[in-house]
């Protein structure tokens, strides 16, 4: 039997959040955390969490699992359970709507702030714009982001200033467009990032790198953005 402790909060009925304990029979299998949640949900339908693809590509089920942010659907129990206990909390730093569901609007607002779309003011050719494999390779490790918010909600700078600091996820995408050979808006993009908060609240502690379920490295991308700002200033 696996002991599971889950953060519960329903704004309509609970004055304050609390941890609820369950016991689950995993039949000795190394289930994913999401499988455990599905078993719990069958037992107690009032438990709320987000889930969709269940294979780690949609980014719905980011949560804090035994103290570390991750995706429930690709986190096997063997990698997270300590002392026979699984502890599930919502991602930290953003408001909780209910149980494991957080209000991600600030996270999305930061994403929208960086103009997350290609800008190219030259007329488009009749076929695709050409891009060499080397130029395309620069987007690897950037475009794969699934917007699960595991990184940004593991970042103290984002906890303190979620309205001003873009956060690792947004900055990873900022760099994805800065480095795309097809984008012509580099100067304007950089100008919008050169304030004391947007980029420079990153102090390089790399919590984002430690938790990213897709193995991406936002800190490195932020370093590249700083270098681009430096180069454009000189």
């Amino acid at each position: 039997m696996l002991k599971v402790s889950v953060y519960r909060y329903n704004p309509e009925t609970d004055e304050a959040p609390y941890m609820q304990d369950y016991e689950i029979d995993t039949a000795g299998k190394d289930l994913m955390v999401l499988d455990v949640l599905e078993l719990l949900k069958a037992q107690d339908a009032s438990l709320s969490y987000r889930r969709s693809c269940r294979e780690g590509v949609c980014g719905s089920d980011g949560m804090n699992i035994n103290g570390k942010n991750g995706l429930a659907c690709i986190k096997p129990l063997s990698e997270c359970v300590k002392g026979g206990k699984l502890i599930l909390r919502p991602l930290p730093g953003l408001p909780v709507i209910r149980d494991l569901v957080i209000d991600m609007s600030q996270f999305y607002a930061q994403y929208e702030k960086i103009q997350p779309y290609l800008v190219n003011n030259e007329p488009a050719p009749a076929i695709e714009r050409l891009q060499s494999p080397e130029e395309r390779e620069k987007l690897d490790g950037l475009y794969e982001c699934i917007l699960c918010a595991c990184c940004s909600t593991a970042c103290p700078s984002f906890w303190w200033n979620p309205d001003k600091f873009i956060g690792p996820a947004g900055l990873l995408q900022a760099y994805r467009f800065l480095v795309d050979s097809r984008d012509t808006d580099t100067e304007n993009r950089l100008a919008k990032l050169d304030d004391p908060f947007s980029v420079f609240r990153c102090h390089g502690i790399q919590n984002c790198v430690a938790v990213c379920p897709k193995g991406l490295n936002p800190t490195k991308a932020i370093g590249h953005i700083r270098n681009m700002l430096l180069r454009s200033a000189t």
């Binding site: 103290p156 700078s157 004391p196 908060f197 947007s198 420079f200 609240r201 700002l229 430096l230």
Partner: protein
């Protein structure tokens, strides 16, 4: 609120703050390394020798640079700390006057120490 934070921030942009933070760190490191090595290689140093060292014009320049660097570094660093923790998000509306109070206090103390220290190191 943006205006207030910008008024009390040191540089004009995030980049200039960031560069200054690194440049001043380099100066402080040079000073620290030099003094440490000097003290270790001169275990029997007396006051006269210490005074002579600090009277040398190169040392005076290094001292002034270091004092100024500490002031700038502290200004930028403490401003960052205050805008992390003393914010309306965390403390409610009282945070803004409170942060301005702390920032002005920080700036005043910083400037007093700076002038005092410059007077000492340059006046030797």
């Amino acid at each position: 609120m943006g205006m207030i934070t910008n008024v009390t921030s040191f540089g004009r942009s995030g980049l200039s703050d960031w560069i200054l933070q690194r440049a001043t760190a380099v100066v402080m490191t040079v000073y620290t390394v030099f003094i440490t090595v000097y003290l270790l290689t001169n275990p029997d140093m007396d006051y006269g020798q210490w005074l002579a060292l600090n009277s040398h014009i190169s040392m005076k320049v290094l001292n002034v640079l270091t004092v100024v660097s500490i002031a700038i570094h502290a200004w930028i660093g403490l401003w960052a700390v205050l805008t992390d923790y003393v914010t309306v998000r965390l403390l409610g509306p009282k945070a803004t006057p409170l942060r301005i109070f702390f920032q002005l206090g920080m700036i005043t103390i910083n400037l007093v120490y700076l002038i005092w220290a410059l007077d000492i190191v340059w006046g030797i």
